[in-house]
C-alpha cells in the first residue's frame, strides 16, 4: 500500500471540511465530523490542525483561492473587456444543486459577525472580485466598448446583484437550470454599462460565457 504524503492528507482533510461546513454548519460541526468525512482519525486531523477554528480558516482560504484563480484566468484570457466581465459574472453563477460553492458562501456570510477570520476571508474575496471587474470596466471604457462614470460602483453593484441572484438560485431554485436568472444578470450588465442588447451581443463576440448544461 502506498501511503499518501502528508501534504496530500492535509488537502484531503481540507476538502472534507468544506463538505462538513455545508452539511452540518459552522456552529454544530466538530473536528470528529471532519475526521469521519475524510476517513481518518481525529488524532490525524489534530496533527495537521490545532483547532476547529484553524481547520475552518485553512479550508475557507483554499476555497477562496480557487475562486480567485478562476477569475484571474478569465481576466487574463483574450477577447473584449465586456466578454471577460460577462464571463466572470455569469460563469461564477451556480449551475446546479450539486455545486456546493454557493452554499459555502451563504453559510460563511452568516458567520462573518461571529468569526473574524471568516469575515476577513469573505471581505478579501469580495474586494478581489470588485477590483478585478473595476479594472476590466476601466479597460473597456478606454477601448470605447462602453461608457461608465463609476467603474468601482458598477463593479460593486454587479457583484452584489449576482450574489443576490445566486442565493435565490442556490436556496430556492436549484432543481431547475439557472437560465432565467442568468438572463436577469445579463440585463444588469447592460444597464450598468449603458449597452443595448445588440451592442452587448456584438461586443461579446467569441468570448460568450459558457452556457450551463
Amino acid at each position: 500500500m502506498i501511503r499518501p504524503s502528508s501534504d496530500k492528507r492535509r488537502a484531503e482533510i481540507l476538502d472534507s471540511v468544506l463538505r462538513v461546513i455545508i452539511d452540518i454548519g459552522y456552529t454544530e460541526m466538530t473536528v470528529a465530523d471532519v475526521a469521519k468525512a475524510a476517513g481518518v482519525s481525529t488524532a490525524l486531523v489534530h496533527y495537521h490542525f490545532s483547532s476547529k477554528a484553524e481547520l475552518i480558516a485553512a479550508a475557507l482560504r483554499v476555497a477562496s483561492d480557487e475562486d480567485k484563480q478562476f477569475r484571474e484566468a478569465i481576466a487574463e484570457s483574450g477577447g473584449t473587456s465586456l466578454g471577460r466581465i460577462a464571463r466572470i459574472l455569469c460563469e461564477s453563477f451556480p449551475i446546479n444543486a450539486v455545486d456546493g460553492t454557493w452554499l459555502l458562501w451563504v453559510e460563511s456570510w452568516g458567520e462573518t459577525r461571529r468569526n473574524e477570520v471568516i469575515r476577513s476571508v469573505m471581505a478579501d474575496l469580495d474586494r478581489h472580485e470588485i477590483a478585478m471587474l473595476a479594472e476590466l470596466i476601466v479597460a473597456g471604457v478606454e477601448a470605447e466598448e462602453f461608457a461608465c462614470a463609476d467603474p468601482e460602483g458598477a463593479a460593486t453593484r454587479l457583484t452584489s446583484l449576482r450574489d443576490g441572484l445566486a442565493i435565490e438560485y442556490t436556496l430556492f431554485r436549484a432543481d431547475d437550470p439557472p437560465d432565467e436568472l442568468i438572463e436577469y444578470l445579463r440585463g444588469a450588465i447592460q444597464n450598468n454599462l449603458g449597452l443595448s442588447v445588440d451592442d452587448y451581443d456584438r461586443l461579446l463576440g467569441d468570448s460568450r460565457p459558457v452556457e450551463p448544461s
Binding site: 452539511d23 451563504v106 456570510w109 452568516g110 450574489d163 443576490g164 442565493i167 436556496l171 436577469y184 444597464n191
Partner: protein
C-alpha cells in the same frame, strides 16, 4: 407560568426565540435555551411545536414579517408609483436593520438543512418581490415607468438590495448604508427610465 391560553403560550415561545436568535444567532438556539429563557422545560415547547426547526421558522417569520408589514404600510401611504418606489427602496428593511439582516443571513445559512426555514424564507422573499413588481407594473400602466419585463426588473432590484445588504453586514465598512440607498435608486432609475434624485428620506439606515 401564569395561566395562559395555548395561543398565548405558543406566542411566548416564539417571542423568547426571537429574542435569543437576535442575541446569539438562529442556528445555535436550542429547545433548552428557549426553555431556560422562559423558565420552563423543553417538554412544554415540544407540546406546542413538532420540532425546533418549526420554532425557529416561526420566530424568523415573525421578525421578518414585521419589516414587510412596515414596508407595505409605508408604500400604501405613498402617492403614485415614483413615491412608492422610493418608499420600497428606503424601507426594504427595518430601523433596527442589523439584527434582522443577521437573521436573514442565519435563515439562509440554515435553509439548506432545515426545510421549515427554507419554506419561510422563500415565501417572504417572494412577497418582497411581488411588492416591488406590483409597484413597477403600476408605474408602467400609468406611463411613469418604462419596463419591458417588470418581473425581471423586480428580481434585479431585489437581488441588488440583498447583495448590497450582505456587503454592509458582512463586510462593513466596505460600503455605507447611505451608499446602498443611492445605488439602489440609481439602478432603479436606469431600469425604469425615471429620475430618482434627492436625498434618501431615511439616510444611513434602511437596509433589510
Amino acid at each position: 407560568m401564569a395561566r395562559l391560553s395555548p395561543a398565548e403560550r405558543r406566542q411566548r415561545i416564539i417571542d423568547a426565540t426571537v429574542e435569543l436568535a437576535r442575541d446569539q444567532g438562529l442556528a445555535v438556539t436550542t429547545v433548552r435555551d428557549v426553555g431556560r429563557q422562559m423558565g420552563t422545560s423543553g417538554g412544554l415547547i415540544h407540546h406546542y411545536f413538532e420540532s425546533m426547526d418549526e420554532v425557529l421558522a416561526a420566530a424568523f417569520e415573525q421578525a421578518a414579517r414585521c419589516d414587510l408589514d412596515r414596508a407595505v404600510e409605508r408604500i400604501d401611504g405613498a402617492a403614485g408609483p415614483l413615491d412608492k418606489l422610493i418608499a420600497f427602496i428606503d424601507s426594504y428593511g427595518p430601523r433596527d436593520a442589523d439584527a434582522t439582516i443577521q437573521l436573514w443571513l442565519d435563515a439562509w445559512g440554515e435553509a439548506a438543512r432545515r426545510p421549515a426555514l427554507q419554506e419561510v424564507s422563500r415565501r417572504l422573499n417572494l412577497e418582497w418581490q411581488s411588492l416591488i413588481r406590483i409597484i413597477i407594473e403600476g408605474g408602467v400602466a400609468g406611463g411613469v415607468f418604462r419596463s419591458a419585463d417588470p418581473d425581471a426588473a423586480a428580481w434585479r432590484l431585489l437581488s441588488l438590495l440583498d447583495g448590497l445588504a450582505i456587503q454592509v453586514v458582512a463586510h462593513e465598512p466596505l460600503i455605507s448604508r447611505a451608499q446602498v440607498i443611492e445605488w439602489a435608486r440609481l439602478a432603479a432609475s436606469r431600469e425604469l427610465g425615471v429620475e430618482l434624485d434627492g436625498p434618501a428620506t431615511d439616510p444611513g439606515e434602511s437596509v433589510r
